[in-house]
Symmetry: C2
Subunit: 354 residues, 2 copies
DNA sequence: TTGTAGGCGTTATCAT
DNA sequence: ATGATAACGCCTACAA
């Protein structure tokens, strides 16, 4: 560690100049085969590895991608398994492409004069790109990031910029699948527990619900829509409101699995049965869903795939950043979702996937 | 980004030398106040930030901590929310201390000659320390890390080295709390669904169970112990085995919440009631536990706190690494756990914490 | 095919 | 209190 070997040492030991060592190790063609072999062998033997810092300084590429994953008090996204599963996809894909991930933790990089700034933190570490999760698009600092020349990608928030794009699951399709499934089970009085309207998924799932209802010839009754924050407790209280109606719904499409768990809790607490009295379908398919009792039907997001999609979009931006041709500003990518029928809706007790 | 300002520019613009700028920005005392003010103001204005790479090169400190979080096929830890919650604690504490986190993703850092090596990856990025999660202590590459001079800390795996230590929850205390609680509910025929014996938590929770049973004067019946892998399915099959016994247990202490969920599923599938016919208590207190039906009594690990504990141990190692005095090789830290009584054991339906 | 040397952005050690 | 200047480890023209 403190005394790990340098290229200079390696050169001395193999009896060539540092330039030759560099060329040999970096696969340049103009090195005699046996020279290269000798150097490579010695490098392995001595466990040599170039210092990223030095290399970054001269090549201006760090092979590191910055990750902003908000986990603060105001963004308790950590409670939401979603982002972590996405992170795995990102890690897999970016790792395969030779990148490591810098998880920003310190609010004050370097010497923290000046204001907090995402862009500055990226510049400080000279990351080649950045991934944004769990922060809002109208944060001025996020906007600044969008205006910069740094390749960025965000997941689940509409974020566009010169070299930025975003990915998300197809929330409209999901809402459509959910409503159609409930209808096929014979429900007509369908409620929705929506997510926060400040979030894209919250908005889109509600809009999708409304559209699907109307497209199916059912009327969209505003009284059958309540709002939550994606978490358990809000699912409980939301469902209680719905059950207190003069004519409660017979089915409910919930914008997240965690809220759906809360809704189920409320239904059971009222002595009602699932799906007999009220059918419930969630959104996400987090691990909880399959373990619940009854197990939860839901709209499945391919979280790891979403991460890989984000990674690929970012890789494209990073590769293109050398070229000057202004290819069309990468459109955002939508990932299809699937319906998973379990016990909480009319499905027989076996698990079917459509 | 590609053209972010350098210290040289900043020096030119403020009419001083780079040395003065460096001293001013780094808070050295020997700078005239108005000179410093002028420089700092200009730095803010121009959104200057020093390049970590250059600084690391000369100071030999990166202010970055490496994180190994195994998420491969053989280590599907990602399914286990545990590590991610721990990660949050680490991030919080280390971030507060001015460190960012490097999440290793690429298997081949720099130019990948030679074998895969944790140590090499750390050296490559010149991290000041490393955190190990989800990898096994007898991996030779992990052992090499332990023999190196790099400060390390691992969570939940017994890992010791010159500058390394590890942290975990008090599994013995947990087992003890669980068994005592079940006894107080009147159970004497208590089973255990154990975790994998290759893992420290798996071993310790089993050993703790055995010890607690014997200390309570109950006999430890090997037939009442089955083994799982911490995940849901193994909880189902483990419980099925137990229910198939001539004399099934009336209570079961399960080594993880996910397996406990599986056990509950098996019990309910057999038409038995919880806790009436069989009481269930888990370990971890992941989010699932409170949302389950019935809600799951469990031994709560303070996951975020565990992360902070790990971070603090690492900080201590990193700070001490300058001093040459061989202070005692930091003992591993144990974090207390707590009993959370919910519906799956004899508690009344309210939630009590001890 | 190989060696030499300049420079990447900073800090730190000298002078002044 | 400030200015030069030499590292830090590496890559990459340019020479040889």
């Amino acid at each position: 560690m403190k005394n790990s070997i340098t290229i200079r040492e390696l050169a001395r030991l193999s009896g060539v100049s540092v330039g030759t060592v560099s060329r040999a190790l970096n696969g340049y063609p103009d090195v005699r085969q046996d020279t290269r072999d000798r150097i490579v062998r010695l490098a392995e033997e001595l466990d040599y590895t170039p210092q990223a810092a030095a290399r970054t300084l001269v090549t201006r590429r760090s092979h590191v991608v910055g990750i902003f994953l908000e986990t603060g008090k105001n963004h308790p996204d950590i409670q939401h398994p979603f982002f972590h599963e996405v992170l795995v996809g990102i890690k897999t894909r970016l790792g395969a492409a030779g990148y490591d991930l810098l998880l920003f933790a310190s609010e004050e990089p370097g010497n923290g004069y000046g204001t907090h700034s995402y862009l500055k933190r990226c510049n400080h570490h000279h990351v080649d790109g950045a991934v944004l999760m769990g922060l809002s698009a109208d944060d001025p600092e996020v906007e600044r990031l969008g205006r910069s020349s740094l390749p960025c990608v965000s997941v689940d928030v509409e974020f566009e910029g010169l070299h930025s794009t975003w990915v998300s699951s197809d929330n409209f399709q999901g809402a459509d699948l959910a409503v159609k499934h409930l209808m096929e089970c014979g429900h007509t009085r369908i409620a929705h527990i929506a997510g926060p309207l400040e979030t894209t998924p919250g908005r889109e799932r509600l809009a999708g619900f409304r559209r699907a209802m109307q497209a199916s010839g059912l009327d969209y009754d505003e009284n059958l829509v309540v709002y939550g924050d994606f978490y358990f407790e809000s699912g409980v209280s939301g469902m209680e409101k719905l059950l207190a109606l003069d004519a409660p719904p017979t089915a409910v499409f919930v914008a997240s699995d965690m809220m759906a768990m809360g809704a189920m809790r409320a239904i059971q607490a009222n002595g009602l049965s699932i799906p007999g009295d009220v059918a419930v379908i969630g959104f996400d398919d987090i691990a909880i869903a399959g373990m619940a009792h009854p197990s939860l039907s839901t709209i499945r997001q391919e979280k790891a795939q979403l991460g890989e999609l984000a990674a690929e979009a970012l890789l494209r931006q990073m590769d293109a950043n050398g070229d000057e041709d202004g290819d069309d500003p990468a459109a955002n990518q939508l990932l299809p979702v699937t319906l998973v029928v379990r016990e909480s809706t009319c499905g027989d007790r076996t698990e079917a996937v459509t």
